[in-house]
């Protein structure tokens, strides 16, 4: 079983990861419009 301390640690780590991802997204430029046509097939 996870202890309260372990749960808090995981939540803190995940929260930091999410903050980092949001920061990356907000700071990134919009993609080039033509990228809409990529990745339809592997």
């Amino acid at each position: 079983m996870l202890t309260e301390t372990e749960i808090a640690k995981i939540e803190k780590e995940l929260s930091a990861k999410i903050d980092e991802a949001v920061k990356f997204a907000m700071e990134s430029p919009y993609p080039a419009p033509e990228e809409a046509l990529e990745d339809v097939y592997a």
């Binding site: 919009y30 993609p31 046509l37």
Partner: protein
């Protein structure tokens, strides 16, 4: 004439048909008094008609349509709402293999008068699973009618025809049209299926468009007029039955056609209409048929990417200029 929104026009059609005929009832997710529908079309109807006739359902599209089919066969006139057009995929067996085929398989002895209202269309950044235009899926299934209203007037009149008819109808709405205002008479009227409407008269080129694309075609036509190009905009209003003669008559007059639809280009609405014109009206054409449609991709989330794939006014103008 008074003006109301597309959303209000749909709601009026539902309200008036429910008052007129006690066999008409509604079912769908969140359509009742707690929410009034994801796009608020059914707002206030549960208060007037009660929970029995405006039924909130579990989140199971297959069950919604299956229930509607059973009710219809036994004499009711259900109007089902599927919250997003994309989610009709979850009910496809009921729609395509059951509703569409019941009259045929029972040799005409059973009818399935259901109306399935659902919004299609992109443009509000809700990505690949909530933005598709899938009208062509249903055009491919004999036994279904496919309505595609572009104005409040057509929305109300076509919905009444759908409810009063004897067949299953895919009633395709467009998310961006709900707030659109237009003239709608106070008195009872219907719009027949299979009769195209000329939304703008012109001489040099025909644009056939449906749903939200009708409005993009009309604004493109206005700009082209300033450059001396006279555009006729034809709105089929129902894709099944399709007013082939209405489209061909316009082509006879103009000699040129651009077909515009928001769905994917391959095997889509534009493919069908272009093929009909090529088969049945080639001799009247002075230039190749042009199509403006979504490239064959899912609808992306990013606003920049989404706007890139949705057919726009510039693409329509370019297509017209290539053949005039």
């Amino acid at each position: 004439m008074r003006k109301i929104t597309y959303r209000e026009a749909l709601r009026e059609a539902l309200r008036e048909e429910m008052r007129r005929d006690s066999s008409v009832f509604l079912l769908g997710e969140d359509i009742g008094k707690y929410w009034g529908g994801a796009f608020k079309v059914t707002e206030g109807l549960a208060e007037e008609f009660g929970d029995e006739r405006v039924r909130d359902t579990p989140i199971s599209e297959s069950t919604i349509i299956g229930t509607a089919i059973g009710a219809a066969i036994t004499g009711m006139r259900p109007v089902a709402e599927i919250m997003f057009g994309d989610l009709t995929a979850l009910a496809m067996d009921q729609i395509a293999n059951q509703a569409a085929k019941i009259h045929y398989m029972f040799g005409g002895q059973a009818k399935c008068p259901i109306v399935i209202r659902t919004p299609f269309g992109a443009g509000v950044n809700i990505a690949a699973h909530h933005s598709q235009s899938l009208e062509a899926w249903f055009m491919h299934v004999p036994g279904l009618y496919v309505a595609v209203p572009s104005t409040p007037y057509d929305a109300k009149g076509l919905l009444k025809t759908a409810i009063r008819g004897s067949n299953p109808v895919m009633f395709c709405e467009h998310k961006l049209l709900y707030p659109l205002e237009g003239e709608v008479p106070e008195e009872d009227y219907t719009v027949p299926f299979g009769v195209a409407d000329i939304k703008r008269e012109g001489e040099d080129v025909t644009i056939v468009a449906t749903l939200y694309m009708v409005h993009k075609a009309l604004s493109a036509a206005e700009k082209l007029e300033k450059e001396g190009i006279s555009v006729e905009v034809v709105d089929p209003r129902t894709l099944v039955p399709l007013d082939k003669q209405g489209i061909i008559s316009s082509v006879k007059k103009t000699g040129r056609i651009v077909v515009v639809s928001e769905d994917c280009k391959t095997a889509g609405v534009t493919a069908e209409i272009a093929a009909i014109v090529a088969e049945e009206a080639l001799d009247y054409l002075d230039a190749p048929i042009k199509r403006v449609a979504e490239p064959d991709t899912p609808i992306p989330f990013s606003p920049t990417l989404e706007q890139y794939v949705i057919p726009n006014e510039e693409a329509i103008i370019k297509a017209v200029k290539e053949i005039v």
